[in-house]
Amino acid sequence: MTFVDLDRAEEEVPDRSVAPPDRPRDRLRRRPLGGPRWVGWAFVLPGLIGLAVFIVLPQVASLILGFSDSTLLGGTQFTGTQNYVRLLHDTQFLNSVMVTAIFVLVYVPANIAISMAMAMWLKTRIAGRNWLRVIFLIPALSPMVANAAVFRLLFQKDGAVNQALAAIGLGPIPWLSDGNWALVTVIGVSLWQSFGYNMIVLGAGIDSISPDVIAASRIDGAGRFRRLVSITLPLVSPALFFTTVLTVIGAWQTFAQAYVITGGGPGNSTMTIMLYLYQTAFTNNELGYASAIATVLFVIIAIFTLFQMWGQRRWVHYD
């Protein structure tokens, strides 16, 4: 569930290099279980090399490229902090940071709240709740691009959503042609697509609460609200922390929704950092400058993650 659990599991591994002295296991003592000491390396090496080359190395290279004016065919010259000075005056970039920050600040709390509420609701008595769980999970495991294409149709000026609104005497709402509404639409489709996943993770967290604790609180006369605040939320807090950290990391990297539904528009109102990075690198062929954007995004995500890890002591309960 959490990194802490992984550490705990680590302790459960018995130390096989030492055979118990009361058993005659000469052969094992000569060759400890697991073979010669280098055998483990042989097994871990493919994964380790792949991790180093394709996951760690690009992060480091991105940091270095950020100090260059690299282009695809034009070679690479190091230009010091020039890219970063330019970023400070790049209104399109500053706008994309703003847009993504708004996205994160609305999307993440809404996602966690909806996921938690739905997870708790699906623990109540409902006929066919396993199938409901599947229905809510399906968009999260479907291609974002297909989901986004569907929403692009629904939210057209004369699409189904505005037609439904017209039927009850409302609208039409300029979902995709007005900047603010376009951002609302992109946040909406992101929530629709993703909450089912966190709902399952939090549901598992709720399941892990001992029924005895709930029963005891009932006997002590705790009402529904009291149980939520004093029992459920504290005991689910490790799962809440885990999902929040990963949801924030994902939200800062939002790309496909904006790319497909609005293309960043109208007027850059849905231009996320990743979309601006993509256009800078692969439309404008400014790979060095795009890497500087990547570094800023990396730092933003790192700050948010570290801040949450620091803050977890105040609200996350491990027992």
Partner: protein, 289 residues
């Protein structure tokens, strides 16, 4: 199950109240699910409409004609057959290779002692929090330098080494009693033999869940294929769909037919393997997406 808490006897009104509450709760929940599913239901019905009725004045699910031929047209107009084949091949190859790498890694972490194991394990844990999409530019440059841009090798390689599958398999392998392994070793089995004949058969459920997630991950993947693939004969489904939507004068009914054919396999897989998938997600094995 909470059903068991229902009192077998008790005041009649109370039982009836509970039954009404149960019915009301169920009804509301399924209504919410219906509204939630509306976009996908609408997609299906739009895929069957004549082109000029996609934006009809009156909202209606069924057009004047039901055109199953839209699915055939999508196959030719969007070249969906090619996209489907590409996506299937890429996802299948990715899945097999990921399983091999993840199994070896998990086995080393769970069952073998070697110098530096804790440090390497920590490295794997840390990479879980790295924002991977941020580093696409150097990844692209690297493959371009190696003259591998616009190939499936470049498309598949970076996705093989995510640590989540290894972690899930490791958790399962830790639960296998050491006696089985010791017995096999006393019978003269090599480490490799133990992995293949003892460990792998025992973690088959975890392997199939990892396979499903890897397959879906590849099936859904968008940003990296968009960057690395140039020629349209190598595109996967998401790239084809995205390219289709950004053209002017979108043929919505064909696009929706393509979306139906893209999402339907996911729906089937999730419905069939729901128990295992929910358990694996609940274990936090695959992180947020």
């Amino acid at each position: 199950m909470t059903e068991q808490r229902l009192p077998k006897s008790g005041p009649n009104w109370r039982r009836r109240g509970r039954a009404v509450g149960f019915a009301a709760n169920t009804t509301v929940a399924w209504l919410v699910a219906l509204v939630f599913s509306f976009p996908l239901i609408w997609t299906f019905f739009t895929a069957l409409k004549p082109a000029n009725e996609v934006f009809a004045a009156q909202i209606s699910f069924i057009g004047s004609k039901v055109l199953w031929s839209n699915f055939v047209d999508a196959w030719t107009e969007v070249d969906f057959g090619r996209l489907l084949l590409n996506s299937l091949v890429v996802a299948a190859v990715s899945t097999v290779l990921t399983l091999v790498v993840a199994t070896l890694t998990a086995f080393a972490f769970a069952r073998l002692q070697f110098p530096g194991r804790s440090a390497i394990f920590l490295l794997f844990v840390i990479t879980l929090t790295l924002p991977s999409e941020v580093a696409v530019v150097p990844l692209f440059l690297g493959f371009d330098q190696a003259r591998l841009a616009d190939t499936w090798v470049a498309l598949i390689l970076p996705g093989l080494f995510g640590a989540f599958g290894a972690f899930l398999l490791r958790q399962f392998m830790l639960q296998i009693p050491a006696e089985l392994e010791e017995a096999a070793r006393l019978d003269g089995a090599s480490t490799w033999r133990i992995l293949i004949s003892v460990i792998v058969p025992l973690v088959r459920p975890a392997l199939s869940v990892t396979a499903i997630f890897t397959f879906l991950g590849s099936w859904n993947s968008f940003l990296w294929p968009l960057i690395i693939l140039n020629s349209s004969d190598k595109w996967t489904i998401p790239i084809g769909i995205a390219g289709f939507t950004t053209q002017t004068g979108t043929q919505w009914e064909l696009l929706m037919a393509a979306c139906v054919m893209t999402i339907a396999p996911v729906v089937i897989v999730v419905a069939v393997a729901q128990r295992q998938l929910v358990a694996a997600i609940g274990a936090g094995a695959f992180g947020g997406r």
